[in-house]
């Protein structure tokens, strides 16, 4: 998977290493602190959503050329100047001639009512266009997330800090998986397992069988990233004194790895997940394209080709919203995994 190479290590990780507070982790936190923390997080999330929406509005408003003319040409497949009479109904319908501020306010008002505007190409509400196609994409995204976590966790517990060549081999494999371009991995899987071995349907493929290859296409690179990130923390934690203590108490190696070490390694993995959900959604566009699956991918590609900005922006805003929610969830998950964070925040 192609992800900016630098997104991984984490803020809570700092909290884990530098933790001078001698207080017991079980101590109760002041509820007022918790409430203000939650409010601040929600405020930050709301800001990001608002700013993302405003940015997409600006992009639509600043589209070069007259939007009504472009729209009409797009629909009729011609390129020509249009008379005022022809443009009037379109301007009327989309409100292109209103002052920018009025357009912006009605756009924001629409968002609050869950209205993302009207598609230039299909002349349907964007929410309908997206809503019709979102289910397969969401299913694909979450199955690939599960695939990625399962692969990463199993490999991590089994291979981290083993005999030299084992951990070297698997950390090398993780690095390679993380570098794979999604479309290429998808094609290889398609050629080998669907065309060559005939194990999976080549095109479309409704049921669960058709989901396997696309989910692997998205999941394998993410598993590589997750593995790389967590392996670093996992191996560091194996050196911690409490691991020695646990071993001295006679705990089995697997027990130590799962009960004590894994908990620490989960934190960077969680951060990466919150970040990766947005990028999984956009990766789904490619996977759906390779395997000709229904979903947002097809909608998005058509919209980009048809220069249907409201639909593209609608998808972008939706992904931004999902990203923000995912990160709020990840924040909450931190506190569950690492009780010390209740105090350090």
């Amino acid at each position: 998977m192609t992800v900016p190479p630098l997104s991984a290590t984490t803020e809570p990780y700092q909290a884990t290493t530098a933790d001078p507070t001698p207080v017991s982790p079980r101590q109760r936190t002041d509820p007022r602190l918790v409430v203000s923390l939650i409010l601040r997080k929600l405020g930050g999330a709301a800001f990001v959503v608002w700013a993302a929406a405003s940015l997409t509005f600006l992009m639509q408003a600043l589209l070069p050329g007259d939007r009504a003319t472009m729209l009409l040409n797009q629909q009729t497949g011609q390129v020509q100047e249009r008379s005022a009479e022809e443009l009037a109904p379109i301007n009327e319908m989309f409100g292109f001639t209103d002052p920018l501020l009025v357009q912006y306010l009605s756009f924001l008002g629409g968002l609050l009512r869950g209205d993302l505007g009207v598609s230039y190409q299909l002349l349907q509400p964007v929410t309908t266009v997206i809503g019709d196609q979102i289910a397969p994409t969401v299913i694909l995204t979450f199955s690939s997330l599960v695939v990625a976590w399962v692969i990463a966790l199993v490999l991590l517990v089994l291979t981290a800090r083993r005999v030299g060549w084992v951990s070297r081999l698997f950390s090398g494999l993780e690095a390679a998986a993380a570098a794979l371009p999604q479309y290429w991995l998808g094609i290889i899987l398609l050629v080998v397992f669907a065309l060559g071995l005939g194990l999976f349907p080549v095109v479309g493929g409704e049921g669960p069988l058709g989901l396997v290859l696309p989910a692997l296409t998205l999941g394998l690179p993410l598993a590589g990233f997750l593995g790389q990130t967590m392996r670093a923390e996992f191996e560091r934690t194996l050196d911690e004194p409490f691991v020695l203590t646990a071993r001295a108490r006679g705990m089995s190696d697997t027990g130590v790895r799962i009960r004590h070490v894994l908990r620490h390694a989960l934190l960077p993995g969680l951060t990466l997940t919150g970040w990766a959900i947005g990028s999984l959604f956009s990766g789904a566009v490619i996977a759906e394209n390779v395997f000709s699956r229904p979903g947002l991918g097809g909608v998005l590609v058509d919209a980009v080709n048809g220069r249907d900005l409201p639909v593209v922006c609608g998808v972008v805003m939706l992904v931004a919203l999902i990203y923000v929610i995912a990160n709020l969830v990840v924040d909450t998950a931190y506190v569950l995994v690492d009780p010390r964070l209740k105090l350090t925040h």
Partner: protein, 311 residues
């Protein structure tokens, strides 16, 4: 938001920990001290992977500057009697639907693909230096403003950001370069900002401040050179990433138009024949992957080499 920008620790990629993390145990301390006592000859320290990457980079360079040295056929020569031939002695990588030699086309496309990667990285890193330096040096408000802005941009995945841009300006090579550059800029900005902040709070800058040097001198002599030196590594890493992004967009049909031998265009052109001619997709994809890996290996090596020379 959580997954964001605090302090220098978080712009490090997960794989570099061995060079950047403080050793925690006696054993690892011993290990690192052994490492620093490796033989003086620097060439011998270069691992085999870096050599392979360097050789491949050289091949790429020759392919971009003088493709006819490496190509075996004319990339435009149509041989209708041999369409979709699988790889053989005559055509190493097979032929496409009009019987054109895929290997020669890939060699001739290398330059354009590299140029797209280079251009996009240049734009991304250029924007990153401007905004990262502004955030790192412009004081609290500038930093808060850019930090917030980055939060917002991280909510847009690179691919989607690039697609919005392509929707507005229509698909073409310059749009692709700009789109990938803009899409990757937020990530680089975060790195540059982190670098600058790390340098700004380092001991030697504090020492220079204590000595009473003017802020301008400190900026020019200490902060900028030290913060921007890792940029060379980032640039190298980034070219590989940009080529992958650009080829992904091209695969979706938003790249350079197909008759061109650019790798993304080859990928797009080969798609209808995927069931009968796997080489048309797999081999150009392999070229993209190999280039990305080469850039990553060289970039990482450069990074650790630069870090070594700093201390």
């Amino acid at each position: 938001m959580t997954t964001t920008l605090n302090g220098p620790a978080d712009q490090r990629s997960p794989t570099q920990h061995s060079t950047t993390q403080k050793p925690t145990t006696v054993a690892s301390q011993l290990y690192s001290s052994l490492q620093s006592r490796r033989p003086k000859s620097r060439l011998r320290q270069v691992p085999l992977t870096v050599w392979i990457a360097a050789v491949f980079a050289l091949v790429l360079l020759i392919a971009s500057l003088a493709p006819s040295l490496l190509a075996t056929h004319d990339p435009r020569a149509i041989r209708l009697e041999a369409p979709l031939a699988s790889p053989n002695w005559e055509h190493w990588f097979g032929t496409d639907q009009s019987g054109r030699d895929l290997y020669s086309r890939m060699v001739h496309g290398a330059g354009q693909s590299l140029l797209i990667g280079l251009g996009a990285t240049g734009i991304g890193v250029g924007l990153a230096v401007i905004f990262g330096a502004w955030a790192g040096l412009g004081g609290r408000w500038a930093d808060a403003f850019i930090g917030r802005g980055l939060d917002v941009f991280f909510a847009f995945p690179t691919l989607l950001l690039a697609m919005v841009f392509i929707t507005v300006y229509g698909p073409s090579a310059p749009t692709l370069i700009l789109a990938v550059g803009l899409g990757t800029a937020p990530g680089y900005t975060r790195m540059v900002r982190g670098q600058i902040l790390a340098v700004r709070h380092s001991g030697y800058v504090q020492a220079a401040e204590a000595l009473g040097h003017s802020p301008w001198r400190i900026l020019n002599r200490h902060i900028l050179p030290n913060a921007l030196r890792p940029l060379l590594a980032i640039l190298t890493l980034g070219i590989g990433q940009s080529i992958v992004w650009a080829s992904g967009l091209a695969f979706l049909g938003f790249g350079v138009a197909p008759p061109s031998p650019e790798w993304g265009a080859l990928l797009e052109a080969g798609r209808p024949y995927i069931t009968e001619a796997w080489w048309l997709e797999i081999l150009p994809g392999l070229a993209v992957l190999a280039t990305a890996l080469t850039a990553t290996i060289l970039g990482k090596h450069l990074e650790s080499a630069l870090e070594g020379s700093q201390t």
